[in-house]
Symmetry: C2
Amino acid sequence: MTPKIAQFLRDAAPATPCLVLDVDRVEENYRRLQAAMPQSRIYYAVKANPAAPILDRLVGLGSSFDAASYEEISACLDAGAAPESISYGNTIKKESAIKAAFDRGIRMFAFDSEGELKKLARSAPGSRVYCRILVGNDGAEWPLSRKFGCEIEMAKALMIQAAELGLDPFGLSFHVGSQQTKTTAYEAAIAKAAMLFTDLQEAGVKVRMVNLGGGYPVRYRAEVPEIDTFGAAIMGAMAQHFGNALPDIVIEPGRFIVGDAGVVSAEVVLVSRKAENDPVRWVYLDIGRFGGLAETEGESIKYDFRTPHDGEDEGPVTIAGPTCDSTDTLYEKSNYRLPLALDAGDRIELLATGAYVTTYASQRFNGFAPLAEHYV
Amino acid sequence: MTPKIAQFLRDAAPATPCLVLDVDRVEENYRRLQAAMPQSRIYYAVKANPAAPILDRLVGLGSSFDAASYEEISACLDAGAAPESISYGNTIKKESAIKAAFDRGIRMFAFDSEGELKKLARSAPGSRVYCRILVGNDGAEWPLSRKFGCEIEMAKALMIQAAELGLDPFGLSFHVGSQQTKTTAYEAAIAKAAMLFTDLQEAGVKVRMVNLGGGYPVRYRAEVPEIDTFGAAIMGAMAQHFGNALPDIVIEPGRFIVGDAGVVSAEVVLVSRKAENDPVRWVYLDIGRFGGLAETEGESIKYDFRTPHDGEDEGPVTIAGPTCDSTDTLYEKSNYRLPLALDAGDRIELLATGAYVTTYASQRFNGFAPLAEHYV
């Protein structure tokens, strides 16, 4: 928790649940990442947190933007981003949204299928397009399955087809999974992309860009490697596989930029046991999986907690949200322990919750309004 | 799909994604359930769908209401429900919310812990309270784990304590899990509740009510038992275990009342393959897990689809939502098949989506607004 967040919580005592996010930390993270990977261009993954104060600050810093929808593109343009700094990075787009983006000057689009390529040729003629390829996600706490990307052979055929359709076959992209804690995942993916890159150049396709995606980890409960380690490993792999002819390098960090800039302040609604002699207490908070903490699904992302009783005796707990839905349980198997003195009415802080919280919040599940947001 | 919904979709061609819900079907379901379980009192589980047209219709029919939050209580009162027809059924409540409900006349509250009981004694003095006990959920497609309820021995102690604290120890409740397809789950739970009921009466506690919860199934892809079968089995078990001295019987249907009254109309955004020879197509819709279809988590609830090409040749598909989140995949392992002719731009209907859709929808994940709602 940054001093500014701590002070805001102390002075304003905002109603819970809420997110308090320190925009200065966003800037620090941006600068830290740019320093770790100086040869890459940062496209902030807007979906991680599209709040205007964040976009404003990043526009000021010269960031580019990775948008998942026309609505996110609009938010970037509203924040003053230049159209040429925005990539429409979702491989699944309605043609009407492609057209709308193109009409507002967007000229860079992701794809991974022939269907999408044809939409782009019709509604974003001449644009730069990049094909997402499937790579391994080992080591990611929030892995990405096969939803996005296509196999190498198909990517090659589609990139050739892109040129034939009058599009600019600009580059290749991949994603090693979010909260990726292993540099080896990047190394393997870069090797794969480099082979296809060479193949395409030999086939006469003027491919010039590699998009490394995001996934850089944030510290939750467990330590993660420093970003400099990632930067060095990634740039080393790029040099190894591309030699002196480095392509344009795009990265799409979201979590890394905003994750540890935010803290969710919540209230303990109830502490109870299921039987007198049950060693495990249930701690119910006023925010849960459907109030924004969606990434606790399967206990994937393990947030760290601060309570007014830290340092006192602790015991094992199951932590759950406030709704009448039993899947609204955050942690049952991850060996969380909280102070025995914790009780209803206590405030509790969830650290590093600046990413992927506000936008996931349900509009009114069980009648609960989405959490408030404070940008300080 | 009811004729009224089909006509609305044909005539209005509403923008997708949207929910279209036939309020007459809500009334039919209410009457059908009341007929199947004439000795029980229906408390509609507002969380299933809190839309005003539904609450209005149910108030007119004389329904009572099971509310999960103060906000849901407010919605019921706004719809004209009498305070005495509303149960505050969440066992996890902020004391401020208990007080607010009590101030508006609510006198019936659920609990399952000493902490909650003390809040109720302080902020809802003299109210009817009922204790939720843990029971098995075998046979439920959306089971409820141990989040709600307590063990029998604790329930007994708490009910005795309720009377000592000046509350009215009104009854017991349980829940066998949502989309419960086995009547045996109710029979086992009723047996368990009846034993405790007798114990409590012998201990001098004036317990008078058994709340059987909800969970009555709706037909999705697979056939489910008729509600009459459930009614007969449940009332048979009540008679067997309580004899002639039947307590007040409360039921809390949500899904059963509104589930098959609604249809989500969506659009196919993309149909693609991951490799040329991949037999499985990916079908991406403009609604997914974070747009309201949260109950597809773990492929629990398997919705049935209607497309413009029904009856033509089909092939295997993976079905996913429109966001850049790979967990936003609906069905990958449930052997869904859709017409080979299905393509981007086609409309597609998801049947029996009137329950637990609109409220789960994220406020703006990936920039997408929640689905529109049309009550016809």
